[in-house]
């Protein structure tokens, strides 16, 4: 009989996961606060809810771009928690609000970050080059985030409230908006560029959206994708 050539299972790299999460969190705080400061300087008085939505969106996208693999669901959870904490810190610095508001935002940002992490891992299996997964995930989230803009004409043509609702729900911004309470589709820029502002629609249910995003993210993280980092 031949020698057993199977490799022993890898031990969880706890130190590495924690280190990675800390780096991600610190990077997100810095990037988000810097961007928020630029926004505040250029936009003038900014609504609190609008500020929160902007900060959380930046935090989520920054979390996607911060280097480092997504090694699995548990490590992904830790990283998502770090990015979420970082985003909330930045949101609180930019626009303080009662704690209850941040509990909701934590759920929204946490869910989106989980999903983004899973998406990044899946995209890494398909996108070429080191960091390709991050770039691909960033682009996919950007396309989804702007769905109410580029799908607006289709929504108007369809003439269906259900279609409007689905298009709105396809955007990660809508899920963050549901938690921050900011009606972003009636904000100046979106109202100018998206016909959805003229139509009847409903934002997705905050809790349901968070659940769907979290589960999807965990599933994507759990799948043993073959990535360049393996």
């Amino acid at each position: 009989m031949g020698a057993d050539t199977q490799r022993p299972p890898k031990a969880p790299d706890v130190t590495g996961t924690a280190h990675n999460a800390l780096i991600a969190g610190a990077t997100v705080v810095v990037v988000t606060l810097a961007t928020g400061a630029v926004l505040a300087a250029t936009a003038g008085p900014f609504s609190r809810a609008g500020t929160h939505l902007a900060i959380l969106s930046i935090a989520a996208m920054a979390g996607v771009l911060v280097p480092g693999p997504e090694p699995g669901p548990l490590a992904g959870l830790v990283r998502a928690a770090a990015v979420t904490a970082a985003g909330l810190i930045a949101a609180w610095v930019a626009a303080p609000a009662p704690p209850a508001a941040f509990a909701g935002m934590a759920a929204g940002l946490g869910a989106l970050t989980l999903f983004a992490g899973g998406l990044k891992r899946a995209a890494g299996a398909l996108a070429p080059g080191r960091g390709g997964g991050a770039v691909a995930a960033f682009l996919l989230l950007t396309v989804a985030g702007t769905a109410p803009v580029w799908l607006g004409p289709a929504a108007e043509a369809a003439g269906s409230t259900a279609v409007n609702d689905w298009i709105v729900a396809a955007s990660p911004l809508s899920h963050l908006a549901a938690w921050t309470g900011y009606d972003y589709l009636h904000d100046t820029w979106f109202y100018r560029h998206s016909t959805l502002g003229y139509l009847r629609f409903a934002y997705p249910d905050a809790a349901a959206g968070a659940l769907v995003l979290s589960v999807a993210g965990l599933i994507l993280s759990a799948i043993p994708w073959r990535t360049r980092e393996d």
């Binding site: 008085p45 900011y182 139509l199």
Partner: protein, 359 residues
């Protein structure tokens, strides 16, 4: 003096409301009867489309408008007339939120609350006074001012938006002001003066608008420096909304802002399309706010840019009758934007306009 002016504004605007004495008009009496019949047909349609819980289209705003259409009808409907009135009232009351807003969801809180106030006030039932007071407080709390770190020189100062933290606009603040006037809100509340500042900043009238973008055609834009249809173009619905908003906040007839707006309406008078907007979008929204503005000005006739006089009552009634469907309903046949494909909403708007035109 300020209080007197505001009191006079209330008296003037009170003419909009049911129970007030009908103004003397030059309207064709036969056309008035036909207009009232068309309105009755619209109300019959609304009876047929009413949901079991008394609401229309599962919407507080649409329900409130439909209810208002009934309560302001020449038939003088009241809660004593039956469930088709009492049930929508209960639907509105069932959607009162902890913060005083009246809405079935977290969206469009200002629009829904403002239209609900008008409908509840129109019942004349003093039992609803606490709800109305709470709703008034919610609306005034939406106003953008020092509380949100805005200074009086900011273009958004005094404005009111959709009900959250979003930018304000004239369409929303006009509804708020209407609701507050209709429900006899405190005439000394600073909300009026602040609103005056914002409304003035949406007018293309450089004499009274301190914004650099302001032109001089006297019409109004959607929000300071912006219209959703093109740049800073004035258009029909907002000009009527701006005019009536000025009346609500206490400007008198000789105010240059009102005169400029009146001139714009005359110079751009048409009921075949929405003046200032291509595509006939928001046509019925225009008809309704146009009727409110014309009624508030207490003028039956307006002169267009060619010097022709138009009896707006006769012409609006004729136009609405032309657009009415066989089932008594209305929709905008040209555009679905701003929910104008919704029969309940547009029929309610058309009936409200007919009620004013035939009063």
């Amino acid at each position: 003096m300020k209080t007197l002016m505001k009191f006079l504004a209330v008296v003037l605007v009170a003419g909009l409301w049911p129970g007030a004495a009908a103004a003397q008009t030059t309207m064709d009496p036969e056309l008035r009867d036909q207009g009232r019949q068309a309105a009755d047909q619209g109300l019959r349609f609304l009876r047929s489309s009413q949901l079991d819980n008394g609401a229309w289209s599962y919407s507080v705003g649409i329900t409130a408008l439909a209810l208002r259409a009934f309560l302001e009808s020449h038939n003088g409907y009241t809660e004593n007339d039956g469930p088709f009135i009492t049930k929508p009232v209960q639907f509105l009351l069932a959607n009162v939120r902890d913060n005083g807003a009246i809405a079935e969801s977290g969206q469009n809180l200002n629009y829904n609350t403002a239209t609900a106030i008008v409908a509840l006030q129109a019942t004349g039932n003093a039992e609803y006074a606490p709800v109305i007071a709470g709703a008034q407080a919610f609306l005034t709390g939406l106003q953008i001012d020092e509380g949100e770190d805005y200074t009086p020189d900011h273009q958004f100062y005094g404005g009111i938006g959709y009900g959250g933290d979003e930018r304000p606009d004239l369409a929303n603040i006009y509804l708020t002001l209407e609701a507050l006037r209709y429900s006899a809100h405190d005439p000394d509340d600073p909300v009026w003066e602040k609103a005056m500042a914002f409304v003035s900043r949406t007018q293309n009238n450089s004499e009274t608008n301190d914004q650099a973008w302001a032109g001089n055609d006297g019409g109004f834009t959607y929000l300071p420096g912006e219209s959703p249809h093109a740049g800073t173009r004035s258009y029909g619905a907002m000009t009527s909304a701006g005019l009536i908003s000025l009346i609500f906040v206490g400007a008198d007839r000789e105010d240059p802002r009102i005169e400029a707006a009146w001139d714009w309406i005359g110079d751009n008078y048409t009921l075949d399309e929405h003046p200032g907007i291509a595509g006939r979008h928001a046509l019925f929204y225009y008809y309704t706010v146009f009727a409110k503005a014309m009624y508030a000005m207490n003028e039956d006739t307006i002169t267009d840019s060619d010097g022709r006089d138009h009896n707006w009552r006769d012409e609006l009634v004729t136009k609405l009758m032309d657009l009415q469907g066989e089932d008594g309903s209305w929709v905008n046949p040209y555009s679905d934007r701003w929910w104008e494909d919704n029969k309940d909403l547009i029929t309610a708007r058309a009936v409200i306009a007919l009620n004013l035109a035939t009063r």
